[in-house]
Symmetry: D2
């Protein structure tokens, strides 16, 4: 069922889900673009060498920057058929801050980095995808929002992140209702776990420090695989939301 | 069970829920403050005359203005035991705009007006309430977030409002988990309907223009009554969320 | 807003929610019927003396018995305007039984006692209420389903109860969509807590053995109060579901 | 990642999802058993010839029959690693019956056919799977519950089916919490659509009579594919629930 030469754009450039997606999508024959605030991170430079990904600098919370990103990607590679928004967006200073303590400026920045950037990316993706012809699965394109379990449950001392994660869910729901009948597959994927990554030396971190339980972090290679399967789902049976969690995670 | 002389602060000053709450809370013996961008609206001036409410000017999306509001209310009336966040926050220009068309600046303004203002108000309310002694119902205070059904379902051509409404829900959930064990009752009330109001001449608008069905708009006097009951709920049996809808509304 | 002489029927006759409802409804001027497998329990005999309730014997999982119950209540007191289904239905032998261990016969009995009895009671209540004239709140009647938090979350080693509680929610949801536009207020109330009760000597049990935390069991007098408020809600703003939990309960 | 010679048991033998699953699982090298009340239906006889499936007669609402089924399958083919419960269970006489009209006996039969049979099948599957060694994906087995959108929304004039579908969800949730940490992947799949099937002559029915819109019924071949992917998910990232709906279905 795979299309050849599809263009995939991953917004967010970390060593976890973004890197795993870039590798898998390239291995499947897609032309892959990765956008990050700092595209010169070693993980992305290495992916350029090993998987021929294209790197783009973009502050995804800046409307003009997001417009420019999609224009460049479209000019360089063509209109994307798969766009993944993969930005957590938390300002570190708000971690574990109770409602009475959280800094308002950091709260607004978290909303901007996470939810507003999701809107900006989704808007540009939508505009381009609506002009695509349907592919073999009947879709003009797929937009995947990586999210946290904070999207479905507001945790203690995590108000700003709960706001931002819920907002991303709200956006995805509204878009799904609006765009699925137009042929764009919108998917919301809350990951209910810490996410592992691959070290520079190729070893993997899927284990919490000091624990002996395996698999207590989600392996991003399997997340990437789930995204690929979602992208290839036929429009006869589209999933809007898939919550992914390790077997040992409390449901 | 009512306390005498409790202080209630209503943020948002429209002729619907805010006005009905102000009337009811005052009739129940509370000292009522209403904050609005423009506190000189006729509906508020009239409430000052008839129900002795205090009016305050406040842009609730401005951190410093919200701090100042709570300081003034506390100085004038005392620390509030009941705070209602009653701001819709939609910028008119985004109504019925599809994801491809919505203006990014208006999307961010909607997030700021609705969700960020909810955070700012909730933060100041929390700080003051934590210092209250428990009342007869065992609570140090009640914080009620009025919301829309967009908080629980993202509608078509309504992405920005879905984001803002979901964010408000996420904030409320996180706060409920954090603050209920501290004695603050946090409640999220999505109203699944258009909301009626009272005209200047005292007549009511609870009917959509051109319809003959009665009660197809929610009567804000009954919403105010529900808020009062929620405020007085004993901490032995607190509700976190109540969705209110007219009997003829599609569930 | 209260109607005088309304008839209330409570199905289930325990010393917790049922007894508290019976007392409160009678104190509010309603004529109260309580149905139980064994109507000769001391708690019900006492309520007959102190609050003039009528006691009825009924196995609510038996279709013919439920038909007979409603006929008798209607003949004795009139058509009920408020019916509360207040049956837990768990067969004790399935408590804390894992999926591999639970006895199939007990699982089916739990479904029958809880969900099927809810259907039978709701069916008869619906038939009678549809013939009522609307009351002051615009309703022909109110049907309240007491449920457990197992209705919204399936717990470990609790499969049969999860099935039964979810089924009751499904019934309530379908009925709400069908009957609210007909003027019958359908309400689903999961109680997310152990529920206290009143001892024979009048002392109350709202505290788990061995704990010092107050209010860690839901006080059924406050639950009854919530039911009364729900019953009196105007049809302009009906709540379908209210989850009640003590302030110290984990959300 | 596929295991060779895995045993799959499909309970329910219709020409839609069950037949599509049987074909796909057999094509992937699994040994496939299909259980149905009437195993002599042409669709199953044909699958025996073309895909070497084994056919078993079983009334899945009969505890002894379900025990016997699993014993026979285990003896004939080995312990299953994949079990699909694929029974709708509605008694035709309750279709479109309002709460006041539904026949109580048919309501109980629907609960028994759908939810109770799901429990019986899940219990036997669990007992066998717990003795399996983990496979390449880290799982001892996968149990998939096909369900309807009535599991997540109770529709009008559909109370019995809402009860049965919700009960199945409750069972799945409880089992997921209990069994995932034991290595059994439990998945709940509500299909939010009418489901197509393949006619005897090989043509497909994925279109509602009288419509011109393509894909307005879910294609069971794609549902089967989703089930296979879920079965092969690594335990690092398990999905508990996937709602599948056609692109044109109202979300």
């Amino acid at each position: 069922m795979p299309e050849s030469n599809e263009v995939a754009l991953i917004v967010g450039g970390g060593p976890g889900i973004s890197a795993s997606c870039a590798r898998l999508f390239a291995d499947e024959g897609m032309r892959v673009a990765v956008a990050a605030r700092n595209p010169d991170k070693p993980v992305l430079e290495k992916l350029e060498q090993t998987h021929h990904i294209r790197r783009y600098a973009c502050d995804a919370s800046d409307p003009a920057a997001v417009v420019a990103l999609f224009q460049k990607v479209a000019a360089d590679l063509g209109a994307p058929r798969l766009v993944v928004h993969n930005i957590d967006g938390r300002v570190p200073g708000i971690f574990r801050k109770g409602i009475a303590e959280a800094d308002p400026g950091m709260v607004l920045d978290t909303l901007r980095n996470s939810s507003f950037s999701a809107f900006l990316v989704a808007q540009q993706a939508t505009r381009l995808m609506l002009t695509n012809a349907p592919g073999r699965n009947g879709a003009k394109g797929t937009i995947i929002f990586t999210n946290a379990s904070a999207a479905i449950k507001g945790y203690v001392k995590s108000g700003a992140f709960a706001m931002a994660s819920h907002a991303k869910l709200g956006l995805a729901e509204s878009m799904a209702r609006e765009l699925m009948p137009e042929g764009i597959h919108v998917v919301h994927v809350p990951i209910d776990a810490a996410i592992g990554w691959t070290h520079e030396d190729g070893t993997r971190a899927h284990r919490l420090a000091g624990t002996t339980v395996d698999d207590n972090m989600a392996d991003p290679d399997y997340i990437a695989q789930a995204y690929l399967q979602l992208h290839r789902q036929h429009r006869s049976t589209w999933a809007f939301e898939v919550v992914l969690r390790p077997w040992v995670e409390k449901l």
